[in-house]
């Protein structure tokens, strides 16, 4: 039963965290308020996406485009507290221009101070401020240079709440790409989004433009790798679960050989004995699976609490629990097949002699 529980718990935890990750990314993109996200269509990963200044100028010239916000993304290891262990595993850096529309979002999230105006200023999330003691007015080290914290924002998005908003020129220089950007948030009138999307893809075929809500499903290849990873882990977990249940069921059949012989002598057919053992395996797996669902949620929440909510978030969808249940059923039936076959084919005469 433990094998099934661990298998189901693992599947539930992985799927829930992946859903959480995808959901966070989608919500992050949607929270920009933009109509379209523009990035390199041929980049293997978002960090390799490159949108040039010339691209920006051409998009701004498209009829229906109201505004374009240029962004960089990066991350750095925060300073340690005197020993070798950093307080946080990583801080995300969001490169933005203070005059661009994307900053409206941070204006809404602002809890203290103001938004940055100069390349030497940064705005930090409430989580970062509390974790590292980076209050308004603090001078903080980022990539070896010192910046002044001028504001603190509080976002409900997992990724953003682990971040620092910094001037895009500063981050661009740091990344060695001062004249190109990771992606663009494009703002249009609501009715112009489709025509602008088509125009971008016609005029700039190297780029892709997608609505924010479609970003994860259409572009996030790295998240597809996660799906493949989940499939692999699910298979491994199922094999472990099957071996566990198989062992239990084989022992159970062996211990009850005389009972099975008695049932067969009393007229129970092979099919009935087969079904009984299969149902027993299935029940065992269902109980283990139910426990595994609870263990999966509890384990995921414990992991999130241990690691940090700013980096990890889980979304528990009904489909996840259905998948967990299916894993339990598959494990139960698969693992009980051979013991059931053995039990059904015991000869009553030999089974009754078994000691």
């Amino acid at each position: 039963m433990l094998g099934v529980s661990v298998a189901v718990a693992g599947v539930v935890a992985l799927i829930s965290v992946t859903h959480g990750l995808k959901g966070s990314l989608d919500r992050y993109m949607e929270a920009s308020g933009a109509s379209l996200i523009v990035f390199s269509g041929d980049a293997a990963d978002l960090v390799f996406s490159k949108v040039t200044l010339d691209d920006v100028a051409r998009i701004r010239a498209i009829d229906g485009v109201e505004a374009v916000s240029r962004v960089h993304f990066s991350a750095f290891r925060p300073p340690s507290n005197g020993d070798q262990t950093p307080v946080l595993p990583a801080i995300l850096l969001f490169g933005r221009y203070p005059e661009e529309r994307i900053m409206n979002k941070y204006r809404a999230f602002l809890r203290e101070g103001r938004l940055f105006q100069k390349p030497t200023e940064v705005v930090v999330s409430k989580f970062i401020a509390e974790s590292l003691g980076w209050g308004v007015g603090a001078k903080v080290p980022i990539y070896g240079a010192e910046y002044e914290v001028v504001g603190i924002f509080d976002s409900d998005l997992a990724w953003e709440n682990a971040g620092v908003v910094i001037h895009a020129d500063v981050l661009g220089r740091q990344l060695g790409r001062p004249d190109n950007y990771t992606l663009l948030f494009v703002y249009t009138a609501a009715t112009a989004a489709d025509s602008v999307q088509r125009a971008i893809e016609v005029e700039l075929p190297r780029l892709r433009a997608v609505p924010p809500g479609d970003f994860t499903s259409q572009y996030a290849d790295q998240l597809e790798v996660l799906d493949e990873f989940i499939a692999l882990v699910t298979v491994i977990a199922m094999v472990i679960g099957i071996l566990g249940v198989l062992n239990t069921m084989m022992m159970s059949v062996s211990e009850r050989t005389r009972e099975i012989g008695t049932l067969r002598a009393l007229g129970w057919s092979r099919g009935r004995v087969l079904r009984i053992v299969l149902v027993e395996g299935l029940l065992l797996s269902c109980v283990g699976g139910a426990f595994g669902l609870l263990l999966g949620v509890a384990g995921t929440e414990a992991l999130i609490a241990f690691w940090n909510k700013a980096y990890l978030i889980a979304t528990y969808l009904p489909s996840t629990f259905v998948k967990g249940g299916l894993v339990a059923v598959l494990v139960g039936v698969s693992a009980a097949l051979y013991p059931a076959y053995r039990a059904a084919n015991l000869k009553p005469v030999e089974a009754l002699r078994y000691e």
Partner: protein
């Protein structure tokens, strides 16, 4: 596959004019690749309602004979017939066991996790609804004087009570043939005597044939037929 045997081919039965209940014709059964000959050329026909005692020394083939008559095993040579039908397939064996035969074992073989009444229900599970078989199990327990123990667990029953539950279970499917392998072998003489009284009463009430394998010649008294086995052969 079962096949109806012509009446002319039938061996003599216990009741004139009817097919024998169970019949063995030239049956040979060997084990360990032929090194052990358990039964050798056995011919036997048993009629309905008889009390048949099977005796013989250890290794004489008593249990093998019982297993064959109970359709739990098939002969290597010869024929096994039940009510005139040849038993030569697993399906035929299962059907006969389920519908026509009741078993009693030396060690009662009750399912320890079930209550007394539930044990009696076991042979009825494949063919009867739960409420129906529950009523029948309680009636059968009443017939063997154990109505008050219907809800007791097996572990709470004495040896004699366990064998009486086993008798009720053997009668559950209204068998034509009751096979009992040393049913008093593990009981003291007084309890064994009581169990035999219950068994005989049940036989008379149901009209079933009782085949009893035993070492105890005392409980063979009054039998309609005494089959003595030695080295796999029936002694004349």
């Amino acid at each position: 596959m079962s096949e109806r045997v012509p009446a002319s081919a039938k061996a003599p039965a216990g009741e004139p004019g009817t097919a024998p209940l169970v019949e063995l014709r030239g049956v040979r059964r060997v084990f360990e690749g032929g090194l052990v000959v358990a039964l050798d050329g056995v011919d036997l026909a048993l009629g309905r309602g008889q009390f048949v005692a099977v005796t013989g020394p250890s290794g004489s083939g008593k249990t093998t004979l019982l297993n064959l008559m109970g359709a739990m095993d098939l002969p290597d040579e010869g024929e096994l017939l039940f009510e005139g039908q040849r038993i030569d397939s697993r399906r035929a064996m299962e059907r006969v066991r389920a519908e026509r035969i009741g078993f009693m074992f030396q060690l009662h073989n009750l399912i320890p996790v079930l209550r007394a009444a539930e044990n009696v229900e076991v042979p009825l599970v494949p063919r009867m609804r739960r409420a129906e078989r529950r009523d029948r199990a309680r009636k059968l327990l009443g017939d063997v004087g154990l109505a008050h123990r219907a809800d007791s667990g097996v572990r709470g029953l004495s040896g004699g009570e366990r064998q009486r539950v086993a008798i009720a279970r053997a009668l559950a499917n209204e068998p034509a043939l009751i096979l009992a392998d040393e049913p008093t072998g593990n009981l003291d003489s007084r309890t064994g005597h009581e169990v035999m009284e219950v068994l005989h009463a049940a036989r008379k009430r149901t009209g079933a044939t009782l085949v009893l394998v035993t070492h105890n010649l005392e409980i063979c008294e009054g039998c309609d037929r005494h089959v003595k086995l030695h080295d796999g052969k029936i002694l004349p």
